[in-house]
C-alpha cells in the first residue's frame, strides 16, 4: 500500500484540472441550460494562446513572471473565442429547441479544432510547452509532488474561492444567481441577462485558460486534439458534482480524478479482478462510479433538485 499517498496526489492533481475545466460547463449550463460541447476546444485555444504569449516573451524570462502573463494571454484568446461563439453561434439559437444549440456546439468544436490544426504553426503535432525546472517536492518517502502538480493544487482552490466570493458577494454575481433562478423575472428586475450570459461564458473560458496553462506546464506539451477527451471528462465531472453548481464541478472533478488514479493502481490487486484493472479500465470504473452516483443522487453530488423549467 506504500504507493497510496502518491496515487492520491496524482488523483487530486488530475481532479483539480478536471474541476477547473468543469466550471465552464457548469456555469453555462446553470444559466442557459446549454451543454457547451465546444468548451473543450475553448480550453485548447487557451493553451495555444498561452503558448503564443510565451513565444512572444523575451527568452530566458523566469517562469514566475511568464506564467501570469501566459494565463492572461491564454485567457484573452479563450474568452475572445467563447464570447464570439456565444454572440454568433448560441445567442441566435436561444429560443430554438434545445437540440439545435447542442448540435451547433458540437459543430463549433470540430471547426475550432480544425482551425487550430490548419492555421497555428506546427500545430499538426504536439507543440512543446515550457515546464518547471528543478526538483520535485519530496514530502514523504513515498510521496513526491511535482512542481506542476503542486501549482495546480494551490491554484485551483484559490480560483474556486475567488469565484465563490464573486458569485455570492458581488453585484454581478448576484445578478448571475438571479438569472440562473429565473431569467424572465431577472430581466423584469432590470438585469441585463444578455450581459450576464456573456459573463458566464467568459468566466468559464478564463478558468479553461488557467487549466490549459496548468496542463501545459505539467505535460510539457499541448495538442490541438487535447480538448476532446479532457472536455468530455470535465463534463462528466460537472454532471457528477451536480451540473449548475460551481462547487459541485470541483468536487466532481476531484472525485473523478481520484477514481481514475485509484482504479489504475488498485483494482488489479483485488483477487479475481486482475483483468479488469490498470489504465485500460480506468475510464470504465470512472463511469461506473458516475452511474452509481446518479442512481442514488440523480442531481449529482452537490446538485440541487430543481423543477424543470418550461
Amino acid at each position: 500500500m506504500n504507493e497510496l499517498p502518491q496515487q492520491l496526489a496524482n488523483g487530486l492533481a488530475l481532479g483539480a484540472l478536471y474541476g477547473l475545466i468543469a466550471i465552464g460547463y457548469t456555469m453555462v449550463y446553470g444559466i442557459v441550460q446549454l451543454i457547451n460541447f465546444a468548451h473543450g476546444e475553448i480550453f485548447m485555444i487557451g493553451g495555444f494562446g498561452a503558448l503564443t504569449t510565451y513565444i512572444g516573451l523575451p527568452s530566458g524570462i523566469s517562469l514566475f513572471v511568464a506564467i501570469p502573463l501566459m494565463i492572461i494571454g491564454g485567457a484573452i484568446a479563450s474568452v475572445g473565442v467563447a464570447v464570439l461563439a456565444e454572440r454568433f453561434a448560441y445567442r441566435p439559437l436561444r429560443g430554438a429547441p434545445r437540440l439545435a444549440p447542442l448540435i451547433t456546439a458540437i459543430g463549433l468544436s470540430i471547426v475550432l479544432q480544425q482551425l487550430v490544426w490548419g492555421w497555428y504553426p506546427d500545430a499538426k503535432k504536439a507543440r512543446s510547452f515550457p515546464e518547471f525546472t528543478g526538483e520535485s517536492f519530496k514530502i514523504l518517502d513515498n510521496l513526491i509532488i511535482q512542481r506542476a502538480d503542486a501549482f495546480v493544487l494551490v491554484l485551483a482552490p484559490l480560483c474556486m474561492l475567488a469565484l465563490g466570493l464573486f458569485v455570492s458577494k458581488s453585484r454581478n454575481g448576484r445578478a448571475m444567481q438571479a438569472t440562473a433562478q429565473d431569467p424572465d423575472t431577472a430581466k423584469l428586475m432590470g438585469i441585463n441577462t444578455d450581459r450576464i450570459i456573456v459573463m458566464a461564458f467568459a468566466i468559464g473560458a478564463a478558468f479553461a485558460a488557467i487549466a490549459a496553462v496548468v496542463y501545459g506546464l505539467d505535460k510539457g506539451q499541448i495538442q490541438f486534439e487535447m480538448g476532446f477527451i479532457l472536455g468530455l471528462k470535465a463534463f462528466t465531472a460537472a454532471v457528477l458534482g451536480g451540473i449548475g453548481n460551481i462547487y459541485g464541478a470541483m468536487v466532481g472533478g476531484v472525485v473523478l480524478g481520484l477514481a481514475e488514479a485509484l482504479s489504475i493502481a488498485y483494482i488489479e490487486e483485488i483477487p479475481g479482478m486482475q483483468q479488469l484493472g490498470g489504465g485500460a479500465w480506468a475510464n470504465v470504473w470512472a463511469f461506473v462510479l458516475l452511474i452509481v452516483v446518479l442512481l442514488v443522487r440523480p442531481q449529482g453530488l452537490l446538485g440541487e433538485r430543481v423543477a424543470d423549467r418550461a
Binding site: 496515487q7 496524482n10 441566435p92 499538426k124 503535432k125 504536439a126 507543440r127 510539457g220 490498470g278
Partner: protein, 410 residues
C-alpha cells in the same frame, strides 16, 4: 422565424464547409491529362495525412510521389505515365476502409501504397482482395496481416494474396528489441505497457515473451488509452514495481508523455519502444530529457545506406514541405515495387497495359526483385519483405542516434 432558420442554415453550411476544406483531400484533382498517348497508371496512397500521425503520413505520400515522378522522368515503363492519388485515413480503420473502396472504384488505380497503421490495414485488406488490387504497406508490422491470426501457433497461412509489405514484422522487431535490452543493455526487469491497439498490443506481447525466454523478468503490465494524456498513475506503478526499464507498445504521442511522466516520478529508467515511437516528435514533444530512451525501427538508417543517397538528394530537390520521416525509404520502395510489377506486366503484353492489369500486377508482385533505397526488395510466400534489417536507436543529446544495426537471425 425566417431569420432564425436562415442563421441555422448558415451555421450548418459554414461548419460543413470549414471542416471539408480543412481535412479534404488535396490531390484529387491532379489528373490534368497532358500525357499525350501515354496510359495513365495511378498509384493510390493511403496514410494519415492529418492528425497526430500526419508527420509520418506526409512522409509516405511524398516518397511515393517521388517514386512516381522518378519513374516518369526516367521513362521506367515506356508508354506509361504514373500519378498518385493520396487519401487521408486519419489513422482510423473506418476511414481506411472507405478510402480502399474509393481506390478500388477508380479503374486507373493499379496498386496502392499504405497504410501506416496495422489496425487500418486490417480494414482495407478485404476490399483490395476482392478487387484483386495490390497493396504494399511501407509500415505495417503486425504479423497476422500476412501470416493469418494463428501465426503464433505455427500455423502460418497467407490470408490475402494482394497484401505485401516492405517493412519487416513485429515478430522480428519485438524479438530484436528483447535481445538488445537483455543482452546489450543488460536490463533484467522490464515493465510492459501497451496502447491496446493492433500494433502496440501485438508488439508488446511478442517482446514480453522473448524477454522472458531470454531469462528476464516482467515486473508488471499495464495499458493506456490512445489520446489520453495523463499517465501519472501508471508511471507510479512502474516506479514502485522496481523495474529497471519500460517497454511500450504503441505510437509516439502516448509514448512521449509516458516516458516523460515515468522520469518525472524520479525513476531514472529508460523507455523502449518500436518503430511507432521512432520519430523526432517523441523527443520534441516532451520537455523532460528523453536521454537514453530506446527505439527499434525496421531497416538500417536511411542516411547511412549507400543505396539511399540518391533518394535523399532527390527528396530534397523535390521541394517537399514535410520530411520523409521514418518510412520514407520504405514508401519509395513500396511505390517502386508496384512500378516494377507494372513494368513486367507491360513488357509481357507487347508494351501495352493489359485489360486485367490489376490481377496481372498482383501476380507479378511476388516475382519483383530490385535494389531499392533500403536494400534488396523482394517478397516471400506471405508477401512479407525478405529484408530483415533492424536498427536500435537511442536518444542522445535530444536526437535519435543509431546504436546497433543488424540483420535479424532467429
Amino acid at each position: 422565424m425566417r431569420n432564425r432558420s436562415l442563421l441555422i442554415l448558415t451555421a450548418v453550411v459554414t461548419t460543413g464547409a470549414l471542416t471539408l476544406t480543412a481535412c479534404g483531400s488535396r490531390d484529387d484533382d491532379n489528373k490534368k491529362s497532358d500525357s499525350g498517348k501515354k496510359t495513365t497508371v495511378i498509384i493510390g496512397v493511403d496514410a494519415p495525412l492529418t492528425g497526430s500521425l500526419s508527420a509520418l503520413g506526409q512522409g509516405i505520400k511524398n516518397s511515393v510521389d517521388l517514386a512516381a515522378k522518378t519513374a516518369n522522368k526516367t521513362n521506367a515503363v515506356p508508354g506509361v505515365e504514373f500519378k498518385i492519388e493520396a487519401l487521408d485515413d486519419q489513422a482510423i480503420p473506418a476511414s481506411g476502409q472507405a478510402n480502399a473502396t474509393k481506390l478500388v472504384g477508380n479503374k486507373d488505380v493499379i496498386g496502392v501504397v499504405g497504410p501506416l497503421n496495422s489496425g487500418v490495414a486490417q480494414s482495407m485488406q478485404g476490399e483490395f482482395d476482392k478487387a484483386n488490387l495490390t497493396q504494399v504497406s511501407p509500415a505495417n508490422t503486425n504479423p497476422s496481416l500476412s501470416q493469418g491470426d494463428n501465426w503464433g501457433k505455427g500455423e502460418k497461412k497467407r490470408t490475402f494474396k494482394t497484401y505485401f509489405r516492405t517493412a519487416t514484422t513485429d515478430v522480428i522487431q519485438g524479438k530484436f528489441a528483447a535481445q538488445y535490452l537483455y543482452n546489450d543493455a543488460k536490463k533484467k526487469k522490464v515493465y510492459v505497457v501497451d496502447d491496446k491497439q493492433t500494433y502496440g498490443a501485438g508488439l508488446a506481447a511478442i517482446f514480453a515473451e522473448e524477454f522472458k525466454r531470454l531469462g528476464g523478468a516482467v515486473a508488471g503490465t499495464d495499458h493506456v488509452t490512445v489520446k489520453e494524456t495523463d499517465f501519472s498513475s501508471t508511471a507510479d506503478k512502474v516506479k514502485s514495481s522496481g523495474a529497471d526499464s519500460v517497454y511500450f507498445g504503441g505510437q509516439y504521442p502516448e509514448a512521449g508523455l509516458l516516458a516523460d511522466q515515468i522520469k518525472k516520478t524520479g525513476a531514472k529508467i529508460p523507455t523502449m519502444g518500436g518503430d511507432g515511437i521512432y520519430d523526432p516528435a517523441f523527443i520534441s514533444a516532451s520537455g523532460e530529457s528523453n536521454e537514453g530512451d530506446l527505439a527499434t525501427s525496421v531497416g538500417f538508417p536511411v542516411e547511412k545506406l549507400e543505396t539511399a543517397k540518391k533518394f535523399i538528394t532527390d527528396y530534397a530537390a523535390g521541394g517537399y514541405k514535410d520530411p520523409y520521416a521514418a518510412y520514407g525509404g520504405y514508401s519509395y520502395d513500396a511505390g517502386w515495387a508496384i512500378i516494377e510489377a507494372v513494368k513486367a506486366v507491360v513488357a509481357a503484353n507487347d508494351g501495352k497495359l493489359p485489360e486485367d492489369a490489376r490481377a496481372k500486377v498482383t501476380e507479378a508482385m511476388s516475382k519483383v526483385t530490385f535494389d531499392g533505397v533500403t536494400g534488396k526488395v523482394s517478397f516471400d510466400e506471405f508477401g512479407d519483405t525478405t529484408n530483415k534489417q533492424l536498427t536500435v536507436y537511442s536518444v542522445k543529446g535530444g536526437k535519435w542516434t543509431d546504436v546497433k544495426s543488424e540483420t535479424f537471425k532467429d
